[in-house]
C-alpha cells in the first residue's frame, strides 16, 4: 500500500477536463490550497466544483474561476466573490445553490453508502422544485440524493502514511465529509507522519477513505474577516 505522493502536482495529474470535484473548506478556512494551485497550473477545464463557498477573487476557488476553469458550482453561499457574481449574471457559469446542511448531508450519505436522505431544509421554497417529498409524523421532507464526485480534495492538519486524518478547529468543516464521499480522495496535510504516530482514538477520518496523501507546503491560511478586540 502506497498512498503517499510527492506533491500536489502528482496528486492531481490525472484529473481530467469535465471532472466533478469536491473541495473542502468553509470560506478560506481549511481549503486544499496546494491542490487548487496545482489545478490552476494544470489548466484543467469544464470542472464541476462542489464546495460550500467559491473562495474570494484572488484566492481559493476564485483562482480557478478567474481562469474560467469552472463550468458549474454547487455551493450554499457565494457572497464574497465579485468575479463569481459577474460570471453568474453573464451566464458563463452555472450555479446550483443548496442549503448548507443539505450539502453536508449529501456528502455524508455518499460516504455512508446511502443513495439519498430526507431533510426538511427547503420545503416550500424554490429548492424543493422537482424534488420528491414525503411526510413523516405530519412533517414534510425533501428527498436529496447522495453526491457523486470523481475526486474529493481535502485539507487536514495531520495525516499519516495510511491516509488517516486529523483536522484542526473549525478547519474541519466539510473536509471529513468530502473525504468520505470522493471516488478518489486526495488529502493534503500540514504535517505528514509515519503510521503509528497518530493516536487511533483521535483520528477523524479513517484512511480507508483516502487514496492519496501528501505533505503540503507554503500554506497561506488567509483570514477573510480579521476581527479582534483590544487588550
Amino acid at each position: 500500500m502506497n498512498k503517499v505522493v510527492l506533491n500536489a502536482e502528482e496528486a492531481v495529474k490525472d484529473i481530467p477536463d469535465g471532472a466533478v470535484l469536491m473541495l473542502g473548506g468553509f470560506g478560506l478556512c481549511g481549503i486544499p490550497e496546494n491542490c487548487i494551485s496545482a489545478l490552476v497550473a494544470k489548466g484543467v477545464r469544464e470542472l464541476t466544483c462542489i464546495s460550500n463557498n467559491a473562495g474570494v477573487d484572488d484566492f481559493g476557488i476564485g483562482l480557478m474561476l478567474k481562469q474560467k476553469q469552472v463550468r458549474k458550482m454547487i455551493s450554499s453561499y457565494v457572497g464574497e466573490n465579485a468575479e463569481f457574481e459577474r460570471q453568474l449574471l453573464s451566464g458563463e457559469l452555472e450555479v446550483e445553490l443548496i442549503p448548507q446542511g443539505t450539502l453536508a448531508t449529501r456528502c455524508l450519505a455518499a460516504g455512508y453508502g446511502m443513495p439519498a436522505v430526507f431533510t426538511p431544509a427547503g420545503v416550500g421554497t424554490e429548492v424543493a422544485a422537482g424534488k420528491e417529498t414525503r411526510q413523516f409524523n405530519g412533517k414534510e421532507y425533501l428527498l436529496e440524493m447522495a453526491f457523486e464526485a470523481d475526486f474529493a480534495l481535502v485539507k487536514a492538519w495531520k495525516g499519516d502514511t495510511m491516509g488517516n486524518l486529523v483536522f484542526r478547529e473549525t478547519a474541519r468543516n466539510f473536509n471529513p465529509l468530502m473525504a468520505m464521499a470522493g471516488k478518489i480522495t486526495i488529502a493534503e496535510v500540514e504535517e505528514l507522519v509515519p503510521a503509528g504516530e497518530l493516536d487511533p482514538d483521535l483520528v477523524h477520518t479513517p484512511g480507508i477513505y483516502v487514496h492519496r496523501i501528501f505533505q503540503g507546503r507554503d500554506y497561506q491560511k488567509r483570514i477573510e474577516q480579521r476581527t479582534v478586540r483590544k487588550k
Binding site: F26, G27, L28, C29, G30, N52, S75, S76, Y77, V78, G79, E80, E85, L88, L89, V95, L97, P99, Q100, G101, T102, L103, A104, T105, C107, L108, T119, P120, A121, G122, V123, G124, T125, E126, V127, W157, F167, R168, E169, T170, A171, R172, N173, F174, N175, P176, L177, H204, K221, R222, I223, E224, Q225, R226, T227, V228, R229, K230, K231
Partner: protein, 218 residues
C-alpha cells in the same frame, strides 16, 4: 423612538434562558452575544462546526483555523467542542438548538421568512438559513420594521423567494415585539414613544392588538 440595532439585540437577549444552546445569525443577531445576562450560561453554536463560541481574539492572537459562520476570527471558551458540518446540521435538524436568531428581508403573518435572495440583484445563497428555519423549534427574527423607502417588511405574504414556511415565532423590530400565532402578528410590546397607531400603519400583514401594549424596557 425606534430601537437601535443594539437595543433590538438587548431585547432579544431577554429571550435567553440558563443552559440554552443558541445559534446567532449574521448582523444584528450577532450582537445578542454582547447582552447575555451576567452569570447566565448560554452556549453559542456556530454552524461551521463549533459549540462554545467565545469573543473576538485579542490583536495578534487571531487563528486562521478558528472562525465563525460569518468567517470572522473568534475564540473558544472552556468546554468548547469542534465537529464537522454534517454533525453541526445534525444537531440543528434534530432540534437540539434551543433558540435561533436570524435576520430577514421579509416575514409574513403566518411565519414565512425570506432572507436569502433578491431575484436579479443578489444571489449570494442561503448558507445554513434554510436548514435552521426548517428545524429550529424557537426562531426569533431581528429586523427593521420597514425598508429604507418606508414600506412594511411585515407582510400578508412574502414577495421574495422564501427561506422557510410557517417557522418564525417572534419578531423583534426597531418598533415592536410581535409573536406570530395562527391569528397573525400579535403586538406584545412597542418601542418607547412609538404609538400602536404607527405600528398598525407600518405593518402590512394581519396585526392583532391584545388590549394594552406595554413599552419595551430598554
Amino acid at each position: 423612538m425606534a430601537l437601535t440595532k443594539e437595543q433590538i439585540a438587548a431585547r432579544i437577549a431577554r429571550e435567553l434562558r440558563e443552559g440554552y444552546y443558541v445559534n446567532l445569525g449574521i448582523g444584528i443577531p450577532t450582537l445578542v452575544a454582547n447582552y447575555i445576562p451576567p452569570g447566565m450560561q448560554v452556549v453559542l453554536q456556530s454552524e461551521n462546526g463549533l459549540l462554545g463560541m467565545g469573543p473576538f481574539p485579542f490583536e495578534g492572537e487571531e487563528d486562521p483555523d478558528l472562525i465563525n459562520a460569518g468567517k470572522q476570527t473568534i475564540t473558544t471558551v472552556p468546554g468548547s467542542v469542534f465537529f464537522d458540518s454534517a454533525m453541526s446540521f445534525g444537531m440543528i435538524r434534530a432540534g437540539k438548538v434551543d433558540l435561533t436568531v436570524l435576520g430577514a428581508m421579509e416575514v409574513s403573518d403566518s411565519g414565512d421568512i425570506a432572507n436569502w435572495k433578491i431575484p436579479g440583484k443578489m444571489v449570494k445563497g442561503m448558507g445554513g438559513a434554510m436548514d435552521l428555519v426548517a428545524s429550529a423549534r424557537n426562531i426569533v427574527v431581528a429586523m427593521m420594521h420597514t425598508n429604507p423607502k418606508g414600506e412594511s417588511k411585515l407582510l400578508p405574504a412574502c414577495t421574495l423567494p422564501l427561506t422557510g414556511v410557517r417557522c418564525v415565532r417572534k419578531v423583534v423590530s426597531d418598533l415592536a415585539v410581535l409573536d406570530i400565532t395562527g391569528d397573525g402578528f400579535v403586538l406584545r410590546e412597542r418601542a418607547p414613544g412609538v404609538s400602536v397607531e404607527e405600528i398598525r400603519e407600518k405593518t402590512a400583514g394581519r396585526l392583532v392588538i391584545p388590549g394594552d401594549v406595554p413599552e419595551i424596557q430598554v
